[in-house]
Amino acid sequence: MTCSRFEQLPQRNALTVFYTAGYPRLNDTLPILSALQASEVNMVEIGFPFSDPVADGPTIQASNHVSLENGMTVATLFEQLKPLRSGEITVPILLMGSLNPIERYGRQRFFEDAAHCGVDGLIIPDMPFEEYLARYKPLYQQHAIKPVFLITSRTDDARIKAFDAEGPAFLYVVSTDAVTGGTTNVTEERDAFFKRLADMKLSSRLFVGFGVSDRQSFEAVTKHTAGAIIGSAFVRALRDAPQGASSHESDRPALEKIVSDFVKQVR
């Protein structure tokens, strides 16, 4: 394998977009990916659906549900991704999803197929770090797929350093550690967290996710980090576009327009 595709990421303002595979229509997975690359998105995160995605908000939950209704499975996703690297797609790609579909498909087989398709990273938010060390780390290494670890303002330094030492694709900074209804100043708390991260002199890139939805929030968080991840807002754009979920045929020009309009609003 050639050197890691993550190395082509810019040092600042890297935009990562998340969407759910098989949404709005089963066969939209690759066309959306091409359109995102054409719009100069720096990295793409593709979610594989789960019936009970505990860490996702209503928009992504609903997209998981539609995707499953459309017939998406892990096997179908790998079928769709097979031609990925034989075409024009050069952007780094991560898969993201719950542990159970991976375990049911077979851990070893999942990594083999992902590597075969040219997937660069895999994010499993409900995998405990101990499970990673015991069962998954060798698979990541063997298949040259990079892990990603989530961190929040309540993750202690020792734990963040342990994640950093694993050489992840990046550390996924969860920005909205919930202060709903509280009197805490969100910006102050966030800035304190970023300062703590800066002081730790980590070797991993930081990407902020959760709660990043537009140019304003993108610019606010990328002052401190290598980039940000936009998920729900993009899935909403796919959902709400007139040519999106309503049509049954995959309409490439329409999808490309939805995607490029969305990316222009952010950057």
């Binding site: 009970d52 049911r104 993750t155 919930a178």
Partner: protein, 398 residues
């Protein structure tokens, strides 16, 4: 055998804490402190006092003479249905609210299926003056209107869950999302022996008072342990409570009764042990009903409290190790069980409990057998279902 949780929260291969990083600090705090807090003398005194004078413990062990005659053995009923709020659920919510107070939490959330755990949580929150939000599936809200009213009267906010199958599993997802969004001030009172470590172990310990009393009552009565303990299993909390102190007593046969719905192979059941496969659901590695693609399947049971596609990790382990024998009872047989207990002993059981009662007729006993059935809850909440199912024949004998 012994049922002990290891340092990572596993019972054999099952359990653990599969939570996203956002919940890691909460779960770790609980893991580090639940044993220390619950073994404090003051905690235990407060817990015992509330179990006794608020909830009404100890519950009687009643010798059911007519059932004994019918089944040719001694049938003993552990009367959890006589507890305050009408089911065993209150044992756990009293324990957890005392723990939440010691952790400095100021807000309580819970999930509920049949509404019994929701009512038990709303009750202890009223008692302690703490705000309470209960997540409940839209489908369950409709079929358990009485319990929704009880929770509201007690001051809890009942939030309708419209995702997925709109039942217990989805209410559990929604409660976990609330906890992710409110990690600082909120404690999540899980109602069964499910969820990430330490919940299964902690809830089992709070419910173990059931088997502690049973053991004492059997010894006082007969000078011997029972030969069988039978309990229904949804997530499995009353069964864990009823089995707990007998797991290390090989002479006691332990039987868990799960809901077969329309029949184990009908595609409309909640027979987790019969149909489930290993995977990760609601924070633990356990057995649950899932598709070949690893998607959680929707459960069905006439009883909202058993309508859950998974089972607690201890039960998965007790099944695999062979210590507990799990059997399945259909909706129809459960209805018959409810009628048998009503007509023979003057006790209208909850539909969940009716599954355990129904299994008696399928076993053969020796005259010397002493069989304890855990009567986990009373049937008031299910009167609508009974009226609908029996119709004009409600007063017919069985």
């Amino acid at each position: 055998m012994k049922l002990e949780v290891n340092e990572h929260g596993f019972f054999g291969e099952f359990g653990g804490a599969y939570v996203p990083e956002m919940l890691y600090p909460n779960v770790t705090e609980l893991q580090e402190r639940y044993l220390e807090i619950t073994s404090e003398r003051q905690f235990q005194e407060e817990f015992d006092e509330l179990l006794k004078n608020f909830a009404g413990r100890p519950t009687p062990l009643f010798h059911a003479q007519r059932l004994s005659e019918e089944y040719g053995c001694t049938v003993l009923l552990k009367r959890e249905d006589l507890l305050h709020t009408g089911a065993h659920k209150i044992n756990n919510t009293i324990g957890q609210i005392l723990l939440a107070k010691r952790l400095g939490k100021r807000r309580i959330i819970a999930e509920t299926g049949a509404g019994q755990h929701g009512v038990a949580t709303a009750t202890v929150c009223a008692l302690m003056g703490m705000p309470c939000v209960v997540y409940m599936g839209e489908v369950d809200i409709k079929r358990q209107a009485l319990n929704v009213g009880r929770m509201r009267l007690l001051g809890a906010e009942v939030r309708s869950v419209t995702s997925g199958s709109k039942t217990l599993k989805d209410a559990t997802n929604e409660a976990m999302r609330d906890w992710i969004a409110n990690p600082h001030d909120t404690h999540y009172i899980i109602g069964s022996v499910v969820g990430p470590h330490p919940f299964p172990d902690m809830v089992a310990r709070f419910q173990s008072v059931i088997s502690a009393e049973m053991k004492e009552q059997c010894l006082a009565r007969d000078g011997k342990l029972p030969t069988h303990v039978i309990a229904c299993v949804g997530g499995g909390s009353n069964a864990m409570g009823g089995f707990f102190h007998f797991i290390g007593e090989p002479s006691v046969q332990l039987i868990g009764v799960e809901a077969a719905g329309h029949g184990v192979s009908s595609g409309r059941s909640a027979a987790t042990i019969a149909l489930g496969r290993e995977g990760i659901l609601h924070g633990s590695r356990t057995l649950f009903m899932q598709t070949d693609d690893g998607q959680v399947e929707e459960a069905h049971s006439i009883s909202a409290g058993l309508d859950y596609p998974g089972i607690g990790p201890q039960h998965a382990h007790l099944h695999v190790s062979g210590r507990v024998h799990y059997v399945q009872v259909t909706d129809e047989d459960a209805l018959r069980g409810a009628k048998v207990l009503s007509r023979r002993e003057g006790i209208i059981p909850a539909l969940e409990t009716a599954h355990a009662v129904a299994h008696l007729s399928r076993m053969s006993f020796k005259p010397t057998d002493r069989v304890v059935v855990v009567i986990s809850g009373r049937g008031d909440k299910d009167m609508g279902t009974y009226l609908e199912a029996f119709g004009e024949r409600i007063s017919d004998d069985v």
